[in-house]
């Protein structure tokens, strides 16, 4: 198996965008190709991550459309769908193809145009990945699953609404420093939790989770260029290697898990990624976790091995995961503030890590970060991917 490096990255600003999906994917792809200082003739293949253009935008065959728009013809092109983990799955496909020796240089673009439909429709669209007979028919949504999970976790480990709000506060604070973030506004504990007007500013979505416990619905795209590590020094930037990859699945219906609080797929994906990289959680300097809900950042930080089970909220309380802490989590603002265009998120996590490891994350740079970790969480933890990235 050959080593694989990331030699180009780019993204669009996330948020409510006027442009259509193809325009967003093109903007991110062109930014990544420009970053790699390459011409389009050298692209061997493209993978496009998208969860639901067929439902949201009346558009299917997204990779075929993008490869044409960018005149990368006749490069092979595939669309990859793995729910909100589509981005990491597309990168995985590129990684495997290069590692196998089949391709040398691959473009991966992930994007979603979610604000094209109403909030009711987008909620139903995301909910359609839940178990059909066991969950979806009841009106279950992703916030509903997260709410039930949060209630159990909070009761077992003494996690308070203030802990959840600390994730939001931290990630919004980081988002202010990220020009690509959907929401660039800091919030206060008083404003979202303690003042009387908090019930209006921060209403319940799925009790005990409130609006500021949930990521926004975003449009946006992100792209990376991957290449065989042996050729990586031909490109202009500090070489960042894909040191480790892991993926694991779990039961589709959350209630079928032996312990519904145990996110086994997060642990499995993280352990596999660390094993391949030959690194341990303590070797990581910066992490991007899938905080679609504040509770998830806390639990993923435990299952990835950074903190003990039931101790994630204590690390948060001590400021360990702040930008100036020992292990900054979600310096980008995470899904919470950067936003969550579902197909783009897994790619955007890798883009942020590459910027951090190159020392290019202006305004939110984690000093001297050499190893990064990210986790892209599909379904409610039923299909999870993790990467470890290392600076050469």
């Amino acid at each position: 198996m050959r080593d694989v490096a990331i030699v180009g990255c780019g993204m669009t600003k996330f948020g409510r965008r006027e442009e259509d999906l193809l325009e967003l994917l093109s903007e991110a792809s062109l930014a990544a190709m420009k970053d790699a200082e390459m011409d389009q003739g050298s692209v061997d293949a493209i993978y496009v991550a998208n969860m639901g253009a067929g439902i949201l935008n009346h558009q299917t065959g997204v990779a075929s459309a993008l490869v044409d728009r960018l005149s990368l013809l006749p490069a092979p092109a595939d669309t990859v769908e793995n729910g909100p983990a589509s981005g990491a799955s597309a990168i995985k496909n590129a990684f495997l193809a290069i590692a196998s020796g089949l391709y040398d240089l691959v473009l991966v673009a992930g994007g979603e145009k979610m604000r094209a439909v109403t909030g009711w429709e987008v909620t139903d669209f995301v909910a359609s990945m839940t178990h059909r007979q066991g969950e979806y028919i009841y009106g279950v949504t992703l916030p509903a699953l997260a709410g039930m999970f949060a209630r159990l976790h909070m009761a077992k480990y003494g996690v308070k609404p203030e802990h959840l709000a600390m994730v939001a506060l931290k990630n919004h604070e980081n988002g202010v420093r990220n020009p690509y973030a959907h929401i660039q506004q800091a919030v206060t504990m008083e404003g979202i939790l303690h003042r009387p007007e908090a019930v209006v500013n921060n209403p319940y979505i799925a009790e005990p989770l409130r609006m500021f416990d949930c990521c926004p619905v975003s449009d946006g795209a992100a792209a990376v260029v991957l290449c065989a590590a042996e050729r990586a020094k031909d490109f202009p930037h500090t070489v960042v290697r894909m040191a480790g990859f892991g993926q694991a699945t779990d039961t589709h219906a959350v209630h079928q898990r032996e312990d519904p609080l145990d996110l086994k797929a997060v642990r499995g994906a993280a352990q596999a990624a660390f094993k391949m990289a030959g690194l341990k959680p303590k070797d990581i300097h910066v992490a991007e976790l899938h905080d679609a809900f504040t509770i998830l950042e806390i639990v993923e930080s435990e299952q990835a091995g950074f903190f003990g089970v039931g101790e994630g909220h204590l690390a948060l309380e001590k400021g360990v995961t702040r930008l100036d802490g020992k292990l900054p989590i979600n310096p980008s603002g995470g899904l919470k503030a950067r936003g969550h265009p579902v197909g783009a998120t897994g790619v955007a996590q890798v883009v942020e890590l590459v910027w951090q490891l190159r020392g290019q994350a202006e305004g939110r740079q984690v000093p001297d970060a050499a190893n990064g970790f990210c986790c892209n969480f599909g379904g409610f933890g039923n299909n999870v991917l993790a990467f470890v990235l290392s600076r050469e």
């Binding site: 066991g134 009841y138 509903a144 039930m148 319940y204 979505i205 009790e207």
Partner: protein, 113 residues
């Protein structure tokens, strides 16, 4: 009224809901339907305020109930006056209308009222 059924693996006895084609425990492929039991315990719940399309109510109560054999099922709750650990009784009822079709599923009621 249709009763609620779990699927028990004929090889190892493990019970699942919803059904699986292959047993998660032993790989067995033969299952028999068994009754869920009359009462279960409310493991966790949420009051949902942001509903997907096609629901007319402003909020929706959802919960996971644990029955005998450790078997669990998710369903709608009849009331928001609930707490964790409460005993619930299951009924089979229309839970959603989708594309003009009425879908049946579980609705949980407090066992004693």
């Amino acid at each position: 009224m249709k009763s609620v059924k779990g699927y028990q693996c004929k090889e190892c006895g493990r019970v699942f809901y919803p059904e699986r084609k292959i047993c998660l425990g032993c790989g067995g492929r033969q299952f028999k339907k068994i009754a869920l039991g009359k009462e279960g315990v409310l493991l966790t719940f949420t009051k949902l305020h942001a509903l997907p399309m096609d629901f007319e109510s402003r909020t929706l109560m959802l919960g996971i109930v644990e029955f005998a054999h450790g078997l669990r099922a998710l369903g709608q709750l009849s009331t928001d006056d609930v707490e964790m650990g409460m005993k619930m009784r299951a009924r089979w009822d229309v839970v959603r209308e989708l594309d003009g079709v009425q879908l049946y599923g579980l609705r949980f009621y407090p066992a004693k009222r």
